[in-house]
């Protein structure tokens, strides 16, 4: 493999504490090394910003609901859907891009890893078929557990060991990465048209509460010592007044310590927090609860969060929170898609237009930015758009511009039709903080890598780490003050290295790289009870046979298996 030396760039690397100093980065055999020979190809990064490849901690980019969103929204292909220069295939879709476009766009933005945030185990093969077809970026997927019958039955009796054994089994069957929990209990209730809106609402029939599910899953996750923590989408998403349920949910992690060999410190990752930080009692007196929620998050060192920034676009909402999508459809009356998945979960989809002229949507935009700006530790707060729920990931450059320039976000804030209402319902106008390039590298590189348990190889530029490198046309000494300029610089990397190969050059895709699928193989002691329960449920309740459930090896030809040994837990 060829050698490279990236010269004279302004390097931002939280792993080594480098804050924009000029430093050369040497690359050989897919890794960053201390020195290369004189034959190495020189990449001139003068007046440019050099960071590690970014990591997406939470996005819906592959799987049954993403694809339903694609094909049931032909109108989404009216925007920006054509082949671009380079060795690319046809690209299609704006809010739910096709797999090809997903891979290319992430790469053009400087990303090298993406986590698919919700994989229904029964549909795992579909998720992996799409991951397989997504070029360049490495990916992994989180199976959903919060409404799974096995989990509900084990945790009703607080059987953490059995829960862990079942999780380990599912990770192996589905080639999954960790534990996702969406609207715990609420989605099972949705199978009867009901919901759980607080963490103490009982789940119909199963006689368990969301609080017990959340706590039990955190404990099982730590019992196994998985690289990532429990990844939670709380109950009561998107409703005024929900910040209390959010803080109640986060409190469940108090006193629990992270147990793992991956350098991860949190025990709970709370996702798209923007949707969970609302005060008020209805959409009329709706207010931001970002301060209250972030005050709590800032104090609790064992939590990480991501923002879920609203980008004010037409987009497609999709979540395993089935009852929420039904509720949303009741609000905007656009086409509603729902799938209930036997024994496991559900999903809903509704197109959504975040109209900036609407005070509520504009306030949601402000809440998302507040979350990031209130974060005291950028290593625990990551920028997402909960793609495509709050907006497409392709809008990250715009989100960065709002976070990095007060001028830029104030211009947007004051140009809202109902600016006065937005300003009084939120605190954004009072916030002066501007996220620095170093903080951005923490929030999009080192932070998410550590949170996902990947900090050994990802998120930094130290010798020995993966040569995943993004070089932007940004001179930190002359950082643009203008929003569109910031946006343009982040939207198209000058270079993207993936595993030491140049995959994007001047915004143009030039190589498909060597994409890998990550999954976690957790070894547990033989558990006869759990194996018996699995047999029984497949014989009696599933509509597929147990032997047809696992995802075959061929679906992840370049798999990267992270082994975990929980036999001595």
């Amino acid at each position: 493999m060829s050698e490279f030396i990236i010269k004279n760039g302004h390097v931002f690397d939280p792993v080594q504490g480098i804050k924009g100093d000029k430093k050369d980065i040497a690359v050989k055999d897919g890794k960053i090394i201390d020195k290369v020979g004189s034959g190495a190809k020189v990449i001139d990064a003068k007046d440019k910003t050099v960071m590690a490849g970014a990591l997406e901690v939470h996005a819906h980019v592959a799987g049954p609901k993403v694809n339903a969103g694609r094909w049931y929204r032909p109108e989404d292909k009216h925007f920006d859907s054509h082949k671009k220069p380079g060795i690319t295939r046809i690209e299609g879709g704006k809010s739910i891009p096709t797999v090809f476009k997903t891979g290319y766009e992430y790469a053009r933005l400087g990303f090298t890893f993406a986590m698919e945030a919700a994989m229904p185990p029964l549909y795992a093969r579909h998720v992996h078929e799409e991951i397989h077809d997504t070029p360049i970026i490495d990916e992994a997927a989180l199976p959903v557990f919060g409404n799974n019958w096995f989990i509900l039955e084990y945790l009703k009796n607080h059987e953490v060991e059995n829960t862990a054994a079942y999780i380990a089994w599912i990770l192996r069957q589905t080639k999954g990465y960790g534990v996702k929990c969406v609207n715990p209990g609420g989605t099972e209730a949705w199978a009867w048209g009901l919901n759980c809106l607080t963490i103490h609402d009982p789940v119909p029939y199963f006689e368990i509460t969301p609080a017990e599910i959340i706590k039990g899953l955190i404990e099982a996750n730590e019992y196994l010592g998985l690289p990532h923590s429990m990844h939670l989408h709380q109950n009561d998403l998107g409703n005024p007044g929900n910040y209390k349920t959010t803080i109640d949910s986060l409190r469940l992690a108090e006193g629990i310590k992270a147990t793992n060999n991956f350098g991860r410190e949190q025990v709970l990752h709370s996702t798209h927090l923007q949707f969970h930080s609302y005060k008020g009692t209805n959409w009329g007196d709706f207010e931001s609860g970002a301060k209250e929620v972030m005050d709590y998050v800032n104090k609790q060192k064992n939590l990480t969060i991501d923002t879920g920034n609203v980008t004010l676009d037409e987009t497609t909402t999709m979540t395993a929170d089935g009852p929420f999508e039904h509720h949303l459809h009741g609000l905007n009356h656009l086409k509603w898609f729902n799938v209930d998945v036997e024994l496991e979960t559900a999903a809903g989809i509704v197109p959504f237009i975040y109209d900036p002229n609407n005070a509520v949507f504009a306030s949601q935009w402000a809440v998302g930015l507040e979350i990031a700006l209130y974060a005291k530790d950028p290593m625990r707060c990551f920028i997402t758009t909960d793609h495509p729920n709050a907006g497409p990931f392709t809008r990250y450059p715009r989100v960065y511009s709002w976070l990095m320039s007060k001028k830029c976000r104030d211009e947007r804030l004051h140009s809202f039709k109902k600016a006065d209402k937005v300003i009084s319902a939120t605190n954004l106008a009072t916030l002066d903080r501007e996220i620095t390039l170093y903080e951005l590298a923490q929030m999009t590189r080192a932070g998410p890598a550590k949170c996902l348990g990947l900090s050994k190889d990802y998120g930094g530029l130290a010798a020995g780490m993966n040569a995943d490198i993004a070089i932007y046309n940004i001179n930190p000494d002359k950082f643009p003050s203008d929003g569109p300029e910031i946006e343009k610089a982040f939207a198209n990397v000058a270079y993207l290295f993936k595993d030491g190969k140049i995959c994007v050059e001047g915004g143009k895709v030039v190589d498909m790289g060597h994409k890998q699928t990550f999954w976690v193989d957790a070894k547990v002691n033989e558990n006869k009870q759990v194996m018996h329960d699995i047999r029984e449920k497949f014989l009696r309740y599933y509509s597929v046979n147990e032997n047809n459930y696992p995802v075959p090896e061929s679906y992840a030809p370049h798999q990267h298996i992270i082994g975990v040994d929980a036999t001595k837990a």
Binding site: S81, N338, E342, N547, N548
Partner: protein, 441 residues
């Protein structure tokens, strides 16, 4: 010693049963018996050893007879046809694996093909309706475990999906449905008294062509509004009675088929059936599902979905953009307007299902058909390339009617020297590359 292969997936219909047991001869060459399958499914496996199976490509001669040619010759001819044609209809895909489709799409993108699957003459109208209004649905196991009201509307699973009723919809006992059939109320709405109607607790005979009106009346009744004395031949008292009963369901489901998609109203029938389902969700939990026909037609829609964003009729002839417009990029319309320059058929038999005029148009064009068997389409093709039976002689991913993906299994070896779809398409793809590199186009 013959051996048994268990958990075999049936490559016949969208029910995609995965509990077949197939007995195979010691040398892995012959299927000796099939257990658990319906009559049609068993036949699919038995076909494998039928005498007279075509094992090498055939090319039609001037006198109408067929001459055996080599795979290399067939591949070269096909690749040349694809490269020369400015617009090729690449139709079928419903009886092959998703992996094979993926390679086909790559070829189509290079040569400017139009990729369409049999939804175009089947559940295409359902897909149009879903593009308009969405769809609340569920997996088949949800029905088994929860449904206590089941409506079959314009579909006849007793004949078309023979094990559907026993595996998922009428008879099985599930977690919350311990009484099985006794705990469910089954309705069948059809213009004829079908064998499915015989299994129903109540048969509602709708006047032919009045499905939309009757569905509309159901919605009206659900809102407590007034109805005329009869709608579509059904007395209003009956309509009110049924709607009240559906509202008291714990979990209800509507299954629909060609009786809705291909009668007067077409996509509008599905549209209003979905809207009825949506309305019922204001009272209880309700879902609706299309009874997809070919075992992997759903898979074709999925792969096209993630690669191009449309479920069928995907026009790649511009090469830099995918387009999808019913009536414009759909196979029958393209053929009727004689808008394509060549036809490439794979894993489906348009000759048996397309309107005659469309096939007359097709027969005048260079045509290649890839199919394990002789069928109506192979007989009007210039070249017939036989392949291994997917789901019998080679595995691959398939999607059930509820979009659940299942990896089909190989149970026996294909006849010696016969290529699989994936192998064949890969070789055509390479040949296309070579020809295009030489400046074919």
């Amino acid at each position: 010693m013959p051996k048994e292969v268990t958990d075999v997936i049936c490559p016949f219909c969208g029910t995609l049963c995965d509990d077949l047991i197939v007995t195979v001869s010691d040398d892995n060459k012959t299927i000796l018996g099939v257990k658990n399958a319906c009559a049609i499914g068993a036949e699919k496996f038995n076909h494998q050893r039928q005498p007279g199976r075509v094992k090498r490509p055939r090319m039609r001669q001037a006198d109408g007879s067929y001459k055996e040619i080599t795979y290399d010759e067939a591949i070269d001819w096909t690749a040349n046809m694809l490269v020369k044609s400015r617009k090729t209809l690449m139709y079928g895909w419903a009886s092959t694996s998703c992996q094979a489709m993926s390679i086909g799409h790559e070829i189509a993108e290079k040569v400017g093909g139009i990729v369409d699957n049999c939804a175009t003459v089947c559940h295409g109208s359902s897909l149009i309706a879903i593009e308009d209004v969405g769809v609340p649905s569920c997996t088949l196991g949800e029905i088994k475990n929860r449904a206590d009201r089941v409506v079959f509307w314009g579909c006849n699973p007793a004949h078309a999906h023979p094990r559907h009723m026993s595996r998922y919809s009428i008879f099985p006992r599930g977690f919350f449905t311990v009484k099985g059939h006794k705990g469910r109320k089954i309705y069948c709405v059809d213009c004829r008294y079908t064998d499915t109607a015989k299994c129903a607790d109540e048969f509602i005979q709708v006047q032919q062509g009045f499905d939309y009106e009757l569905l509309n009346a159901f919605r009206t009744a659900a809102r407590g509004e007034a109805l005329p004395d009869t709608v579509g031949g059904v007395p209003k008292e009956k309509i009110y009675e049924i709607v009240e009963d559906l509202k008291t369901a714990r979990f209800g489901i509507i299954f629909f088929g060609m009786g809705l998609t291909h009668t007067m109203g077409r996509n509008h029938n599905i549209d209003i059936a979905i809207n009825l389902t949506r309305d019922m969700n204001d009272h209880t939990k309700f879902a609706i599902m299309a009874m997809r026909g070919h075992w992997n037609v759903t898979g074709s829609g999925q792969v096209l979905g993630w690669q191009y964003g449309f479920p069928y009729a995907v026009d790649l002839s511009r090469r830099d953009q995918a387009r999808h417009q019913t009536g414009e990029t759909t196979s029958v319309d393209l053929l009727n307007r004689s808008e394509v320059e060549a036809c490439f058929y794979i894993a489906t038999d348009p000759g048996a299902h397309f309107p005659v005029d469309a096939m007359i148009s097709s027969s005048r064009k260079p045509t290649v058909t890839i199919d394990p068997h002789i069928n109506c389409t192979t007989e009007i093709s210039d070249i017939h390339i036989p392949v291994a039976l997917v789901g019998v002689e080679v595995g691959g991913c398939a999607y059930r009617m509820d979009n659940v993906p299942i990896e089909t299994r190989k149970v026996v070896d294909p006849p010696e020297g016969v290529l699989t779809d994936e192998e064949l398409l890969t070789r055509i793809n390479h040949r296309v590359d070579e020809l295009m590199a030489k400046g074919g186009q």
